[in-house]
Symmetry: C2
Subunit: 270 residues, 2 copies
């Protein structure tokens, strides 16, 4: 998918909502646990209930790997379901990969070719040759960690490197990499006040913004400092939507929360 | 496995060799491609041919994920084969994971509980709460990226952060984390001259050292600057061993290369 297509969906739906699919068997509604594939059934119900309100879905790969081969089958069924039924949805493999060149190429093949995701999150620590293999894929997007939403972001990301915070170095350096037009960035909503400065470095790039809701970030702040003429934002919500209820009405309650967020987003889109 | 057990194996075998299991179907000997599970058959032959010369095996997870469910089944069979037949081997999931706390916990479960690896490589960019969930597992080891062997290491890792290179900040900061005794570090052999300073910060920790051989690092240099009283080194070799021959004699030729490295290591162990 191109960013132009993504923007068109955002404008059509008046939404820049990304739904995080982080299925934890301990939190799934009890009545689903007897299904042959509870995780897929859960995801499918959430997708069906929210697909007209969201423009992106982000399975968090850890939550599938933790269940071994069975979990990876649930992941595969989920992405296949999305691609077959809702090809207009932007899909994000939240995998936070990154390794030396030939290894990153293998990860890129796994998520872009084999699983057919539109994008993947990647960690920047190993530098240029660990990221460029992902950027080489046409119409695929690499979402580089810049400033994450967790407390540990202050351990290294905000430290000053050669006169500038590390996350800013990541933004500036990565702009010079080959095919950097395929880059998006993770910027946590819990650090929305940093967005103004971030926009000076990457005025147009799409940002994937976790941390609104459960982690305490504010949508208004994110829009105030981070929104561009072409929106440039995907705001992720996982727990608030997918665990809105632990009963049989989980999808319905999830839709209510998604609708609440979409209404709020529509206002900011004006 | 404890580091004491690992050290005992090193002393017994006069080897600190780690064999990297990075199976690429394009490079596998042709006669294996008709097997039901070529990757597992390849790994099994390499393990059988080198297990008396090596103390650790390191599957590079990307090379399994790239082949989807089938690849993950090959990985599972490989680790199960190792744990069942050679429980004295230290096993490393080269996965370079790292995410916010609850997600890192899921990755830790995937690799420590489900697949039963002894250790996993982890990226430090997201800081303390992204690493501590791995450290919480008893007798499991977290191998944090410090200074990697690729050219991109110079993009961020060697940049000066608050008066000190980023990789040194990673070493010093991570020492203060909970259960930091479970930490080991990745330090590339291509940057062996950095090892003397690294040893001033982490005098006793085990280092996983990639980059000897194919990537140009020198074993002598690594030992000179990095070896401690308790050895403190695991030197990885992948391509030089596993692709020593592309014929039916691949395991035999791989053993020859492993033997050559083990002999050299025995000399440094004195």
């Amino acid at each position: 998918m191109t960013t132009r297509q993504l923007l068109s969906e955002i404008n059509k739906k008046k939404s820049f909502l990304c739904v995080g699919l982080d299925p934890d068997l301990d939190k799934l509604p009890k009545h689903l646990l007897n299904a042959e594939d509870p995780i897929f059934e859960f995801n499918k119900a959430i997708i069906d209930a929210t697909q007209d309100l969201a423009v992106a879905y982000k399975p968090n790969i850890a939550f599938y790997e933790a269940y071994g081969i069975k979990g990876m089958q649930s992941l595969r069924k989920t992405i296949e379901y999305l691609n077959a039924n809702f090809p207009e949805q932007f899909t994000i493999a939240d995998a936070k990969r990154g390794d030396i060149g030939n290894t990153s190429t293998m990860y890129a093949k796994a998520f872009f070719d084999d699983l057919e995701f539109d994008s993947i999150t990647v960690a920047p620590y190993m530098g240029k040759d660990s990221v460029e293999p992902f950027l080489a894929f046409e119409n695929k997007h690499t979402i580089l960690l810049a400033l994450t939403s967790n407390p540990g972001a202050f351990d290294f990301q905000t430290k000053t490197v050669d006169g500038k915070e590390l996350y800013k170095q990541v933004l500036e350096t990565s702009k010079t990499w080959k095919n950097s037009q395929n880059l998006m960035y993770v910027v946590g909503a819990t650090k929305a006040e940093y967005l103004a400065e971030i926009r000076q470095i990457i005025p147009d790039s799409f940002l994937l913004v976790p941390g609104v809701g459960a982690q305490g970030g504010s949508l208004a702040e994110v829009c105030k400092y981070g929104m561009t003429e072409n929106v440039g934002l995907l705001v992720n919500s996982a727990r608030a939507i997918i665990y809105a209820s632990s009963g049989e009405d989980f999808a319905e309650k999830g839709r209510e929360e998604a609708l609440r967020m979409q209404h709020e987003m529509a206002e900011f889109l004006g």
